[in-house]
């Protein structure tokens, strides 16, 4: 006579299968609960390479989350049409002009303070000034890029771009689509008129810059300077310095004596984000000195955190002291955006052809 085991093989298999099924049904829910996804926007190019290779994986590991980084423009229109209570992004990374467009529509928060993001306590005042919504994590200086081999006197002032010798060899932007072009227009108002908001003076000065080569993106301006097609043009310092050592093109950057315009990299959180704490943690992480140093030296952006210590060659050229930061001029994007349509129509008429 054989004795039956207390639990039959068939019952064991059935129970095991049942447990496995229950586990497999439950697993996605558990995973979902544990692994949060942070949806952000970010730039491409070298910045995007560093983010994807180093910065984002480290953040994911640190916070046990996944980061979905959108690099496909345009971010603000996509955010505008997504539901407010379930926005397409948790963290919006854009330049300052687009943040101001977004805050008017209630798409992003007004301010980010040290209460939500502790590292905000260590940033230069410009990064959280009244000209900023959200927080600026880096800035570039918008000034003049120029060729050193074309026999021109190195520029010292914004006015030097109007030198008749540069006719047809100076470079600017399609103002309606490029914030550097918009900054340059405001700077013309300051130099030739009563201030950044003196549009009549700016239009008059813009007329004097013709003929001028216009591009859509800063990347195009970089290449036009490298190729010598543009001898002197409006560009941010990063767009010149990042080629240092990569080629032998004689190109340099000038911070004009009247000051440089700020091209801020701004992060902000969407009010309807379902992972707001994680979003704040991400901004805090991006302001951390080690992350700031990595990105600043990778793409030649000036870090917003005062505590960041850069290598000597970066420190010499970037805005890393209160004195250098004081040369930054921040435009009032709220004012500019409110009259953008009129400005676009006027500058298009001026630069047509």
């Amino acid at each position: 006579m054989t004795t039956r085991p207390p639990v039959s093989r068939r019952a064991l298999l059935r129970t095991g299968a049942g447990l496995a099924a229950a586990a497999s049904f439950g697993a996605p829910a558990i995973l979902h609960a544990e692994t949060k996804t942070l949806k952000i926007t970010t730039w491409g190019g070298k910045w995007g390479d560093i983010m994807k290779a180093t910065v984002l994986p480290a953040f994911e590991k640190e916070h046990g989350c996944t980061v979905s980084a959108d690099q496909a423009f345009p971010y603000v229109p996509k955010l505008q049409v997504s539901p407010r209570n379930d926005p397409l992004y948790d963290v919006l990374h854009t330049n300052s002009n687009e943040q101001w467009l977004s805050v008017v529509d209630g798409l992003v928060m007004d301010k980010i303070t040290a209460k939500e993001v502790p590292n905000v306590a260590d940033v230069y005042p410009y990064a959280v000034s009244d000209k900023i919504v959200g927080v600026s994590i880096f800035t570039s200086a918008i000034g003049l890029g120029y060729r050193t081999d074309k026999g021109i006197t190195p520029p010292k002032s914004w006015k030097d771009l109007a030198d008749p010798k540069l006719a047809g060899a100076r470079g600017g932007y399609l103002i309606p689509v490029n914030s550097l072009g918009q900054c340059h227009l405001m700077m013309l108002g300051k130099i030739y008129g009563k201030g950044l908001q003196d549009l009549d003076a700016a239009y008059k000065a813009l007329e004097q810059l013709k003929p001028i080569k216009l591009v859509d993106f800063t990347g195009q301006m970089e290449k036009m300077l490298l190729s010598g097609e543009v001898v002197e043009g409006v560009i941010h310092d990063s767009g010149v310095y990042r080629y240092e050592g990569a080629n032998r093109q004689p190109v340099d950057f000038c911070s004009p004596s009247e000051g440089v315009m700020a091209l801020e990299q701004v992060l902000n959180v969407t009010p309807g984000s379902k992972v707001k704490e994680l979003a704040f943690a991400y901004i805090d992480y991006m302001l951390r000195p080690d992350v700031q140093k990595l990105l600043a030296e990778g793409v030649w952006y000036s870090p917003a955190n005062k505590k960041v210590k850069l290598e000597a060659k970066y420190d010499a050229k970037l805005l890393t002291t209160p004195e250098k930061v004081a040369t930054l001029i921040q435009p009032d994007w709220k004012w500019y955006n409110a009259r953008k349509d009129d400005i676009d129509a006027r500058v298009t008429k001026i630069l047509k052809g």
Binding site: W43, G44, G45, A72, L88, G219, E222, K223, S227, N247
Partner: protein
């Protein structure tokens, strides 16, 4: 003295016609030639004359994971769109041409309407619809959006074939005992095949090059090649863009040649 009998007199009209054709050809091919020069030039910016010849930009294109992922995704989407638009567009064309449907002219205009709207608006509207209905941005949503744009091409080319279709051939097959299904597969389909496939070629190319609709519907790590190229161009305007363009052109050419092998380009010429 009279002219030799075998020497043709100079024909000004013919010369002008030839000259015009050469100009048109140059106009069409010049951009491709410029792209090729840029793709082979070693400098990291557009410069003329070129300073040398290199395959570095092609290497960069094929070695960059983002480019490769988006290239295969674009090919996959275009292949799906080809199949879907051929089935949907072909069926619509048959229904419109044969179905004696009320409001046929309206229906034809309705199916052609995606071509009338700016594609960027179509993309934005679909994006909003998907989000509001809670679908998100799935891959099949992108395929359906491309199909929406591609169907009118198949519809138009198939309708053109059906317009000159001699229905007596189908009637003869029926009289000889063929079932409706057999008539369709053995008589109708082979005869409308040139129109359907011509539309299919257009559908493939329209999908593969589609930018405005994709712009709103792609997701992170799921971008199509045109979107990746656009974003790349904003930050790095180098020869990799030109190399990618050349690869796209060659792929489109390969599709056309493959179809030529399958059904013959002469069939298209008749359209």
């Amino acid at each position: 003295m009279s002219m030799p009998p075998n020497k043709q007199p100079f024909d000004l009209g013919k010369a002008a016609y030839l000259g015009l054709n050469l100009l048109l050809l140059a106009f069409l091919l010049a951009p491709i030639a410029i792209v090729l020069v840029f793709a082979l030039n070693p400098t990291p910016y557009i410069s003329f004359p070129p300073v040398g010849v290199t395959l570095h930009w092609f290497d960069k294109f094929f070695e960059t994971a983002d480019f490769m992922r988006s290239l295969w995704l674009s090919l996959w989407i275009a292949a799906c769109v080809l199949v879907l638009s051929v089935v949907i567009g072909g069926a619509c064309a048959l229904a419109l041409a044969r179905g004696n449907l009320p409001g046929r002219a309206f229906l034809t205009a309705f199916f052609m309407s995606p071509l009338m709207l700016p594609a960027i608006l179509t993309g934005l509207a679909l994006f909003q619809s998907y989000l509001l209905s809670g679908i998100g941005r799935p891959l099949w949503g992108l395929i359906m959006a491309h199909t929406l744009i591609a169907v009118p091409y198949v519809l138009r080319t198939t309708l053109a074939v059906l317009h000159n279709f001699d229905r007596r051939i189908e009637e003869a097959a029926s009289v000889l005992g063929a079932s409706p299904a057999r008539v369709f597969f053995e008589v109708t389909l082979p005869l409308i095949q040139p129109g359907v496939f011509a539309g299919g070629v257009f559908a493939f190319i329209v999908s593969f090059d589609q930018f405005p609709v994709s712009l709103f519907l792609v997701v992170p790590k799921g971008e199509t090649l045109p979107v990746v190229l656009f974003n790349y161009m904003k930050f790095d305007l180098d020869g990799a863009i030109a190399a990618a363009s050349m690869v796209s052109i060659l792929l489109a050419l390969a599709v056309v040649l493959a179809l030529e092998r399958l059904i013959g380009l002469k069939a298209y010429v008749k359209l």
